[in-house]
């Protein structure tokens, strides 16, 4: 059985790797954006992003100094042996990764303004749970969510009569207003549902999907394509200097809404989308995103 200690170390390893190595799908999308770009300043920006990604890998240092707020998504089997231990294990792994990588201490007391120094604090790291019936396994995903790209994040309730078009307009307006601030090319997550908090949770969850991955429902997938095209038609470009690629992708997650309300959540991620997942089975821990870590074990 995978021990508590091993699991903690593996989670810390994953967090560290997430801060240093940009996942392949994001790298590919940035390379394509670079090849496609003909705006001189935008091309220069994309070149420095790609150079940066390479240097981070070679020198094993965080690719961005803002190593984010740590948000964990757990899908745990009801019979996962370490279920009850997970919150503590994740907290310890966070502290370990903060020291070993190192990550920037980014947990600040809301009232006093004091930085805890180890990326933990009141309700942080944040954990979202999903329980899988009859399973003994668990999947743990970490997101290192940068602060700058939280500026345009919002949840808003619109009259349902405005429809999905009206909801997507909220997202387009958010990107329009944000300009260069959230470090484009961004990834746009949109959540549609009955209440602001549900929409926002779905929006953030939409950012967990890999670049190019579409919603299983074809009608939602079509909206994702449209939203991506619309955002890129704005022409803010990389870092807002103009150009083709304002967003690398757009993802939409949905929940059935209330007859009288349509809530829209918009979550924006900078180009440095740092998300990674590992799976814990009975006897081993497998890295699903940063797969090279499996060989190092």
């Amino acid at each position: 059985m995978v021990s508590r200690e091993v699991l903690k170390d593996k989670i810390a390893t994953m967090v560290s790797a997430t801060a240093i190595y940009l996942a392949d799908d994001v790298k590919e999308a940035l390379k394509k954006a670079y090849e496609r770009e003909d705006n001189v300043v935008a091309k220069r920006v994309l070149k420095s992003i790609l150079d940066n990604v390479k240097i981070a890998e070679e020198e094993k240092r965080p690719l961005c100094q803002d190593t984010g707020t740590l948000i964990y998504y757990i899908k745990a089997g009801e019979n996962f042996p370490l279920l009850g231990e997970l919150p503590a294990v994740i907290r310890e792994a966070t502290i370990e990764a903060t020291a070993s990588t190192p990550l920037r201490p980014n947990a600040v007391d809301v009232i006093t303004g004091k930085n805890s120094g180890n990326n933990t604090g009141e309700n942080i790291p944040w954990i979202e749970w999903e329980i899988i019936p009859k399973s003994e396994e668990a999947e743990i995903t970490v997101m290192l969510k940068g602060g700058g790209s939280e500026g345009p994040s919002l949840a808003r309730t619109i009259p349902p009569s405005l429809g999905v078009k009206g909801a997507l307009k909220v997202a387009i307006d958010a990107i329009f207003e944000a300009g260069a601030k959230p470090c484009p090319p961004v990834i746009v997550g949109v959540g549609l549902g009955p209440t602001g908090d549900i929409a926002m949770k779905l929006a953030r969850r939409a950012l967990l999907r890999r670049i190019g991955e579409r919603h299983p429902r074809p009608d939602v997938a079509e909206l994702e394509d449209k939203l991506l095209r619309a955002v890129n038609a704005l022409g803010w470009g990389p870092q807002g200097v103009g150009g083709y690629t304002t967003a690398l992708d757009a993802h939409i997650e949905i929940a059935h809404r209330h007859p009288a309300s349509l809530a829209v959540g918009v979550a924006v991620n900078c180009w440095a989308l740092r998300v990674s997942t590992l799976r814990v089975t009975k006897h081993e821990v497998k890295f699903l995103t940063h797969r090279f870590l499996n060989a190092e074990a």
Partner: protein
């Protein structure tokens, strides 16, 4: 679009050569300040208390780095820019009172800073946001750190750099603002974006927040 390589201290004459869209690399000393650092610096200046470092002719970097303590030294591991817009409320006054010549950040700054750049011969430049490892590569040494009580990201880091860049000039000393020009284009594109999601012209004006 020309490319320049400057060493600190940088003169007003040098800065006046720079136009929006130009590329700049800086060698010498770069100083960091973020929100709390700006607040404290202005507090000192308004009380007539000297700053621990002379900013005149220097480059100010909006950054909260990832650093590692190695013996009695600090090493910068990652140091990309932070969003400059948050510092708009401080920067014009800071420029006027310190004689700083080059500001480095990301995301652009507003009209007050643009006006201060014009009046005092300063440029605002951007380093690619998120490119923290690339930035750190040209930081040779942390000469010293002040105001560490503000926390690592907010402290005043005095960094010796070599060929720090590429920086893109987005506000020049003529008061030209590159982002204002891009924004004008983007405003024109907004209708196109709306039409892609199928929004008709009379639906464009509907403001969600006005709903009641």
């Amino acid at each position: 679009m020309a490319e320049y390589h400057f060493t600190t201290p940088i003169s007003e004459e040098q800065v006046k050569l720079l136009k929006i869209g130009d590329i700049l690399f800086i060698s010498g000393t770069v100083l960091s300040l973020r929100d709390a650092g700006h607040r404290r610096a202005l507090e000192y200046l308004n009380k007539g208390k000297p700053l621990p470092v002379n900013f005149s002719g220097m480059a100010l970097y909006h950054v909260g780095p990832v650093v590692k303590r190695e013996g009695d030294r600090w090493r910068v591991l990652s140091a990309g820019p932070t969003t400059s817009a948050r510092l708009e409320m401080y920067e014009a006054e800071f420029i006027e009172k310190t004689g700083v010549r080059v500001i480095i950040g990301k995301g652009g700054m507003g009209s007050k800073t643009t006006e201060a750049c014009r009046r005092f011969g300063v440029v605002y430049t951007i380093f690619t946001g998120g490119a923290g490892a690339l930035a750190a590569k040209s930081i040779e040494e942390v000469e010293r750190v002040e105001w560490l009580d503000l926390g690592i990201p907010e402290a005043l880091w005095v960094m010796r750099v070599r060929e720090f860049g590429p920086l893109t000039v987005v506000i020049d000393s003529n008061g030209e603002n590159f982002y204002d020009n891009v924004k004008k284009e983007v405003e024109k594109n907004l209708k196109k974006a709306y039409s892609i999601i199928g929004l008709s012209q009379n639906e464009e004006g509907i403001q969600a927040e006005k709903w009641s």
